[in-house]
């Protein structure tokens, strides 16, 4: 069938998901916290910005929430090299499909594309050099609904009806999300944009509290998590100029 970019790449000799030699003991950067939940207008996706390798902090300005096209976002947890490569393949696959077939790839088709990449990557994931467990979130224009999905490293896809989390810091916030959504003042899906952003900042700050591999907010360095909103009108990133006052007023504890 025409319009398959990944197939085209393979025909051109491109290899993906080839495992490195097993048993090599390298510290590969892989810990993180990413989350997505549905709010009133769509879906919010957020991620911290730390990349670690073993005990070392590799980088503190990683962007783990990647815009794949106008209406979908992939948040990555796991080995960054593989994850970024996957994001690049997906981005080009969706563009290529739209331009060749003269119609947008369906949301389900997009989910399958990511699942397929993860499956191709199983060998590398099990060898320990390429495990990725991403979140895929977006706005399904056909159904007029926001959607969130999370994947395991083998490529199984699960729908997060209200929210989805991944990464080493995720066990901490999974409980909080459940509590918030069930007994909070209002369920997540009724929150307005600003309220949703405040909760996302608080959640990531909590994750950083208990997970050394998740980076928190560093106000001195003007370093804030990445928060993106996906609505019917597309993907939008919350600028630092908005995150900063929100953090100061609603998240930082004033003693």
């Amino acid at each position: 069938m025409q319009g398959d970019f990944f197939q085209l790449l393979k025909e051109q000799g491109y290899q993906f998901g080839v495992p490195a030699a097993a048993g090599s003991e390298v510290d590969i950067p892989n810990a993180t916290t990413i989350l997505a939940f549905k709010y009133r207008d769509g879906v919010l996706v957020a991620g911290d910005r730390r990349a670690t390798a073993g005990n070392t902090v590799m980088y503190d300005r990683t962007d783990k929430v990647l815009e794949i096209d106008r209406h979908s976002v992939m948040a990555i947890a796991g080995v960054p090299a593989t994850a970024y490569e996957m994001a690049r393949i997906l981005e080009h696959s969706f563009k290529y499909y739209r331009r060749t077939q003269l119609q947008e790839l369906s949301f389900e088709g997009k989910l399958r594309a990511l699942s397929k990449l993860l499956k191709e990557n199983v060998a590398a994931a099990l060898a320990g050099t390429g495990a990725v467990a991403p979140i895929f979130a977006g706005y399904d224009l056909e159904q007029g609904a926001a959607k969130t999905y999370f994947y395991d490293i083998l490529g199984a896809e699960f729908e997060g009806v209200e929210y989805a989390v991944s990464g080493s810091g995720s066990p901490t916030i999974r409980g909080i999300l459940h509590y918030l959504n069930t007994w909070g003042e209002q369920p997540l899906s009724e929150m307005q944009e600003e309220q949703a952003a405040i909760q996302a900042l608080r959640l990531l700050t909590s994750a950083a509290e208990f997970d050394s591999a998740t980076g928190g907010v560093n106000r001195e360095a003007n370093l804030y998590p990445v928060i993106k909103f996906i609505t019917a009108s597309g993907v939008r990133t919350m600028p630092d100029t908005q995150l900063k006052p929100l953090f100061e007023m609603k998240v930082a504890r004033h003693v």
Partner: protein, 274 residues
């Protein structure tokens, strides 16, 4: 039969004649820069003739739909593989044309035992800044030309020249989208009218009643062009696409919906179309 060189030259000459004939009924394509991007416009009967190729590349075509489709796919393949392996900013119109499809079209044209591509192609590339846009056209024999500000496709070089002259009459820089659409639709009419005139002249020549002065009487004023459009566009659709620098995201291509086009077309013409 074509082993002798002069026979080959003759065969290529025949092929030129055959191809020229194929484009006579075609609909011209106009591409012109405006304030924040590039506008492409044509009038089509059913099959679309304007396409998105890459983040900043758009295609306009004349000729056989199946041939156009084949070349469109090879452009898409090339652009996306290159954009993935290197970077999107390495996917430039110049490279796509010079090393990509122009040689393919030329080869098909000169292989006289095989069918040539019945296509003329226009590739518009949105520059990072205004004034940096590129316009490339490829003829059915693989020759290409590169221009700035505007480019057109039409049945013959003479008609193309007439359209470009019309487009350039007022300075084309800094046009609003509305102005650009007005100019493009009139330039299309200039081209379409010239093509019709061309085929009529041929017919009259055959009947040996040629009157060389008649054609020159036609005026390129707006009213005359709108009245030509009124007669020709009625059962077809005006197709219009933009590469707009102001559009968010990486992909800058957008097809105008019929509603938008309805709002943006010159008022004098709308009255005549409804």
């Amino acid at each position: 039969m074509y082993e002798e060189p002069y026979k080959w030259v003759e065969a290529v000459g025949n092929r030129r004649q055959y191809l020229d004939e194929q484009f006579k009924q075609g609909s011209p394509v106009v591409a012109v820069a405006y304030e924040t991007g590039i506008l492409l416009l044509t009038v089509s009967k059913g099959t679309p003739k304007l396409y998105e190729i890459y983040d900043r590349l758009a295609l306009g075509g004349m000729g056989h739909p199946a041939d156009l489709e084949k070349l469109r796919f090879s452009l898409l393949e090339m652009a996306h593989v290159e954009g993935f392996n290197r970077s999107p900013s390495d996917v430039t119109g110049g490279r796509m044309v010079k090393y990509g499809i122009a040689p393919v079209i030329k080869q098909a044209f000169e292989e006289v035992f095989k069918a040539p591509f019945i296509v003329k192609i226009l590739l518009a590339e949105l520059g990072q800044k205004a004034g940096k846009d590129a316009f490339l056209t490829i003829n059915y024999d693989g020759t290409f030309e590169e221009g700035t500000h505007c480019a057109v496709l039409a049945a013959s070089p003479a008609v193309e020249q007439e359209m470009v002259t019309y487009l350039r009459q007022p300075p084309t820089e800094g046009w609003s989208l509305e102005q650009a659409i007005g100019a493009a639709v009139r330039a299309w009419a200039v081209g379409d009218r010239a093509q019709r005139r061309m085929s009529e002249d041929v017919r009259e020549n055959q009947e040996s009643k040629a009157d060389p002065t008649r054609a020159r009487d036609e005026k390129n004023d707006a009213a005359a062009l709108y009245s030509h459009l009124r007669e020709t566009v009625a059962e077809k659709t005006i197709e219009c696409a933009l590469l707009d620098r102001q559009q968010g995201g990486f992909s800058k291509y957008r097809a105008l919906t019929s509603d938008e086009l309805g709002r943006l077309l010159p008022r004098d013409m709308k009255a005549s179309l409804t």
